[in-house]
């Protein structure tokens, strides 16, 4: 099983280098994975930041250190919640549609039709999604972080009365390039994981033993979302622990 995933991953990456006319396909996927997810990412990012601001304030007020709210919100978002929540949201929105689309193409002979036209399915369907995810995930994570910090500002500064200068000053003094790099590395790892799981589940939907035809696609989609979300959290722990050393 793991070997199959590994081979699928290697084949997908290999096709990123050998597939002709990959640019236009990748741009189309960036639109599907990235541009169409902007609104939901901004919405969730805003409320996550607002909740963090609210919860953070009432924890910090007990220690008389509400001035650290900006640092708490920004570090939590940039190092942890930004990449993880963005990845989980994109798995639900873009990953599920990836699996369903590729799965339907598989069970309706569309991938076979590509193969006999000498258009490898891995190059036409999987490689552009790998590239698009690796580009879109960090960008969306960045948007999530920024809007989350604004959300924290809305509750911390506008609602609860913390000084604006203190809020942003603490962000500036505590957030380092290492934190941002950690967030970017995580988002790239999550992008590869999500795309690998979702594409592979759809691509092999016809081989499932728990259903045939549309049921197989439905089961593949469910599996893809569940496995991706679990693996994102597992990978989060692994990357975090290796970065904190």
């Amino acid at each position: 099983m793991l070997g199959e995933f590994f081979l699928f991953f290697v084949d997908g990456i290999r096709h990123c280098f050998i597939t002709p006319k990959l640019f236009s396909k990748t741009v189309r996927q960036i639109y599907a994975i990235g541009a169409q997810s902007v609104f939901v990412v901004l919405l969730i990012g805003l409320f996550t930041g607002m909740v963090l601001g609210l919860q953070g304030y009432y924890v910090l007020v007990k220690f008389g250190s509400t001035g650290f709210l900006g640092a708490a919100v920004s570090l939590t978002l940039v190092r942890e919640l930004g990449p993880v929540l963005t990845a989980i949201m994109l798995t639900g929105r873009a990953g599920s549609s990836m699996t369903a689309e590729i799965g339907v193409m598989r069970i309706t002979d569309q991938i076979d039709a590509l193969e006999v036209m000498d258009i490898p399915g891995m190059g036409y369907l999987v490689a552009p999604r790998f590239l698009a995810s690796v580009i879109a995930f960090p960008l969306l994570t960045f948007m999530f972080d920024v809007i989350g910090i604004i959300g924290g500002y809305l509750t911390g500064v506008s609602l609860l009365g913390i000084s604006e200068g203190v809020y942003f000053g603490r962000i500036e003094s505590s957030l380092t390039m290492t934190d941002i790099t950690e967030g970017v590395i995580k988002s790239v790892v999550f992008a590869l994981l999500m795309t690998l799981i979702c594409c592979r589940q759809g691509y092999n939907a016809h081989r499932r033993r728990d259903g045939m035809g549309p049921e197989a696609v439905a089961n593949a989609t469910t599996s893809a979302v569940v496995i991706s979300c679990v693996l994102v959290l597992v990978a989060d722990y692994v990357v975090t622990s290796s970065m904190l050393r």
């Binding site: 002709p20 006319k21 689309e101 339907v104 193409m105 309706t108 002979d109 569309q110 076979d112 039709a113 590509l114 193969e115 006999v116 036209m117 000498d118 258009i119 036409y124």
Partner: protein, 284 residues
């Protein structure tokens, strides 16, 4: 310029016959076809005939390289297809045009984009030239006015004709058609047959393999017939030989006579309990 590999010409448009030698085929542990040996002559229309579910489409999937036979060989121009190096295998497959049973058009592309796909992926032609070629192929199947429609906006027959347009867009030397007339009304079915004959007339060296159980198609287009029966070749010969055969099974098949199981309905009456439940359901 042509490339040679062990005196096997993989480029160009030369005619090849297709030879099956003791092919055993099926799916994970289930043998559907056993010991299939047949020749599909170059430049002829060969019809693969047989009852529904006898393995015709399975055979086609193996012939076009989508599945590997469990045993036996499939030869193109005398070369074992599945023994070729990967690059040559792909070059041989470039010579194929394939019409799948339901067209297998890509749902996210318009009809014109579908037909243009092999050209836009494999050539450096400009968009306008590729679109013009796609429209030409669509005009051959009478769908030029539906170029910008998506597959789910078309009828089953139109999707099938669109699939044929895509299959012929590269003017392939070998054309495979899986059930081209199934699900079509008699007029559209006759048009599809005529289209295949026109293709043959336009490209005389083209080898056509048509999988069907439509007898009127067989009578109209077949030069050569291979009939699959019980997972084996039940008949191989010309269409005239098939028509004049005295084999009882072939006669029954060609004359559309029911088999011995025709009285199954009388032999298996509905369970009274089921009948009562159905009556009760209808009264509700």
């Amino acid at each position: 310029m042509t490339r040679q590999t062990d005196s096997f010409e993989v480029d160009g448009r030369g005619a090849w016959d297709i030879r099956l030698e003791h092919v055993r085929a099926g799916y994970t542990g289930r043998v559907v076809l056993d010991d299939i040996s047949a020749v599909f002559p170059a430049g002829a229309i060969t019809v693969v005939l047989g009852e529904s579910g006898c393995g015709k489409s399975t055979l086609l999937r193996h012939i076009i390289g989508l599945a590997r036979p469990m045993a036996g060989r499939i030869l193109y121009g005398g070369q074992d297809f599945f023994s070729l190096p990967a690059a040559h295998f792909r070059r041989v497959r470039r010579r194929f045009g394939v019409l799948f049973q339901d067209g297998a058009l890509l749902g996210s592309l318009t009809l014109a984009e579908n037909v243009a796909l092999p050209l836009s992926e494999h050539t450096g032609l400009s968009r306008s030239v590729v679109r013009e070629a796609a429209l030409r192929a669509l005009s051959l199947v009478g769908l030029e006015n539906f170029a910008d429609y998506y597959p789910n906006e078309l009828s089953g027959g139109m999707r099938k004709r669109g699939g044929l347009a895509r299959a012929i867009a590269t003017e392939p030397p070998i054309l495979f058609c899986d059930e081209p007339t199934s699900g079509l009304d008699p007029i559209n079915a006759a048009q599809m047959d005529q289209l295949l004959l026109d293709m043959k007339e336009r490209y005389p060296t083209m080898t056509l393999v048509v999988v069907t159980h439509d007898l009127s198609s067989v009578r109209r287009i077949a030069d050569h017939v291979v009939l699959i029966r019980d997972g084996r070749v039940g008949f191989a010969g010309t269409a005239d030989e098939l028509e004049t055969s005295n084999d009882p099974y072939l006669r029954r098949f060609m004359d559309r006579l029911p088999d011995d199981g025709a009285g199954r309905l009388a032999a298996a009456p509905v369970n009274p309990e089921v009948r009562a439940a159905l009556d009760d359901w209808l009264k509700r």
